[in-house]
């Protein structure tokens, strides 16, 4: 097994490049998950704001045909991590045992609520509605905690996790948990603006600006807090003159946030409707945040001990899967896009897709 902290250089050829490519592949998969399931989880976070049961149903209906496919990106992330970086898979999941548990339990409640909410009346209906919202909030918060704990770094000794059952819990990771709830709610608002009309659409537009402020505030807190954490992670961002080179990322983030702020308002006079813009800008905001995260983590996969080369499976594993991926991923993206196109357009409160 490789040394956990192994660092390779481009001159090492395939041994250097395969893990780099795989980092890109998994990064893409995780980003797809965050963007796609992010807005569905966001619907669950926003659902308690629904004015009545019908509006609650309406919110769920907008995602009913596609939520399962969105969640599949998470399964790809899990299986892909096991295939390409088995050591990171083993370390992260066993170290973050409890937040992974709450993530999975949250996703269970959220998932079955799509089927079960419409089979009961009265109490049962409200209970499965609560399961949808509660599950979404719990799953999102857990994901945020996992993210914060990873950024902060998992203490290891001799390659094994040494932080105990609660090693992931810190004010920082709990804060990132809350931050992600705010972020996914913003994605959910963008989705509702795109997919609905009328009263729900107007309400969703009104949710955007407070959420943008929240997300920017959390981004600022993270930026101030990170250097104070004294972890080796994110050093890239704040040592030497690097910040100048990386400055486009935060600047772009601010620019995107400004556009999002502007497009949140309803503009009946506009030549073409802007209903897709809030979602698109929010997706861009997330993509930029994600890019910032990857740049900061590099070349670690699980800081502070495990680099992408230290965690990598041998070329026999990474290569074997990469061939399949190169062929299958475009096909998957093709039919997934087609399925979104089949259900394109507004979802009205009266309409099932039938």
């Amino acid at each position: 097994m490789n040394d956990a902290g192994l660092i390779l250089h481009a001159s090492d050829g395939l041994a250097f490049w395969l893990p780099v490519v795989w980092l890109g592949v998994l990064g893409f998969g995780v980003l797809m998950y965050v963007l796609l399931d992010g807005f569905v989880l966001g619907l669950g976070i926003l659902a308690p704001l629904a004015e009545d049961g019908a509006q609650f149903d309406h919110m769920m209906n907008t995602a009913a045909p596609i939520w399962d496919g969105n969640e599949t990106w998470l399964v790809l992330g899990g299986a892909g991590l096991l295939a390409a970086f088995p050591r990171a898979y083993a370390l992260v999941l066993s170290a973050l045992y409890l937040p992974v548990l709450t993530l999975l339990l949250g996703l269970i409640f959220r998932g079955v609520a799509f089927e079960f909410r419409f089979k009961g009346q009265g109490f049962a209906r409200r209970a499965w509605g609560a399961a949808f919202s509660g599950g979404s909030v719990l799953a999102t918060f857990s994901q945020g905690v996992i993210l914060g704990a990873l950024v902060q770094g998992l203490p290891t000794q001799a390659g094994a996790y040494a932080g105990g059952t609660w090693g992931w819990a810190s004010p920082f990771s709990l804060m990132t948990g809350v931050a992600l709830v705010c972020g996914y709610a913003l994605l959910g608002s963008g989705w509702l603006i795109l997919k609905t009309e009328g009263r729900l659409h107007q309400r969703a537009r009104r949710w955007v600006r407070p959420l943008v402020l929240g997300v920017l505030a959390f981004m600022a807190v993270v930026s101030i807090w990170l250097p104070l954490l004294s972890t080796p992670v994110m050093q890239r961002w704040f040592t030497g003159g690097r910040f100048v080179w990386l400055a486009p990322v935060p600047l772009l983030t601010l620019a995107v946030a400004a556009r999002l702020w502007r497009d949140a308002a309803h503009r009946p006079d506009a030549a073409r409707p802007h209903d897709a813009h809030p979602l698109v800008w929010t997706l861009a905001l997330f993509a930029l945040g994600f890019a910032g995260l990857l740049l900061g983590l590099w070349p670690h996969l699980v800081p502070p001990a495990l680099t992408i080369w230290g965690a990598a499976s041998p070329p026999a594993s990474q290569g074997f899967l990469l061939w399949g991926l190169a062929v299958l991923l475009p096909v998957i993206l093709g039919y997934t896009t087609w399925s979104y196109r089949v259900f394109r357009g507004k979802v009205t409160a009266e309409m099932g897709y039938h």
Binding site: E71, A83, L93, R117, G324, H354
Partner: protein
Amino acid sequence: MDTLLLSRIQFGFVISFHILFPAFTIGLANWLAFLEWRWLRTGQALWWDLYVFWRKVFAISFGMGVVSGIVMSFQFGTNWAVLSERAGNVLGPLLSYEVLTAFFLEAGFLGVMLFGARRVGPWVHFFCTAMVALGTLISTFWIIAAISWMHTPQGHVLQGNVFVPGDWWAIVFNPSFPYRLAHMVLAAFITTCFVIGGTSAWYLRRGVHPESAARMLRLAVVFGAIAVPAQILAGDQHGLNTLQHQPIKVAAMEGHWHAGASGAGVPLVLFGVPDQQAERNDFELAVPRLGSLILTHSWSGDIEPLTAVVPEDRPPVLPVFVFFRVMVGLGLLMLAVVAASAWAWWRGRLERATWVLRGWQLLSPAGFAALLAGWWVTEFGRQPWVVYGLLRTRDAVSPNLAAAAVATSLAGYVLVYAVIFGAGIWYLWRLLHKGPTPAAPGSADAAATEVRTPARPLSVAGEADIAEADAR
């Protein structure tokens, strides 16, 4: 209890619950593809009504399979970190191929299959159903490849204690793979077949949906008459393959502790209570030489006894022995029901043969029970190994995992699964009880038969689908 035992109980619990739903939906997806194909070919509204009905059953079952399956994809890391580190190089790519070739295929076409009949043409819709069905089978292929490699590992190189893939063809097509795959796919189909047949018998006995029920029951009988004997043959071949590669598992299935006298053959133990410490069966009832006949196809063939290996290399014999008999017993009962149905059909009284209908009804959950019993035989039987002969289960568990944390997660899963699957099975039962509802009269095509009800929530089976008729 320690981390190891709690982790084993947890894995057994979550995977046993999970496998019920994929097994059912493998069969259901293919059944749906068959129903839609018949409807497209004949234009008979009844086929479409049946399609719409079983699609509701499928949607609930598939949902439960998805949410319990996500749990599975993280179990190896949370509780079996050492297994992941050492065997992830082999298992990871197999599971990833499952995601890429099967899960995305299912999920991508599921939305259109469930909700898109009015938005695409009928043959495009059929294509979506067929893709979902294909996805379930491809998924079976990869997951069985992974688990079979853990039973009969080959094609890898051991570097230190890490498994590094050498020959992927040898890894995927390992010795137990084809037998396990055939056995599992047939088991999934038979499980679904008995739910369909049992439900139809239930309708016939209650005098509801007579036309649909008669048609479905006949299909179940035809399918069962082919699949159940085929499964018995596949099981026999799988057993012989196991004898070749995991003889101690077969010895545990047979309760065969000690080598007999030369030429005396191996008896078939019909009943007994294996005693692991005393290395014998209590209350044994055995037929001399029959074990040899079944396992070696000869009068005096020998198989390796349990005492051929040291006690710490033996599986727990009692569960392997008991569940093997449960599986075989249920298989024989299913064969008997199928045979009796064929006889009643030949006499022209299938729909009125009370005892046959009662048999189908009683055996409607038999496929699930046999499937679980079979998996428990093979998984208890490969203990104490997780990668057979190479990595022990006790060495594969996550280090540094507190027993209290695993106890918490196990309690969490038990509690949540009780609520979720309790509710799911209740909804399924009510849906099956109510049965198919005919489409609006005069409807001719797929689009029109899907009645558009204002304010109908977007779930495949709605409240009205499971409400009692008189309560509406």
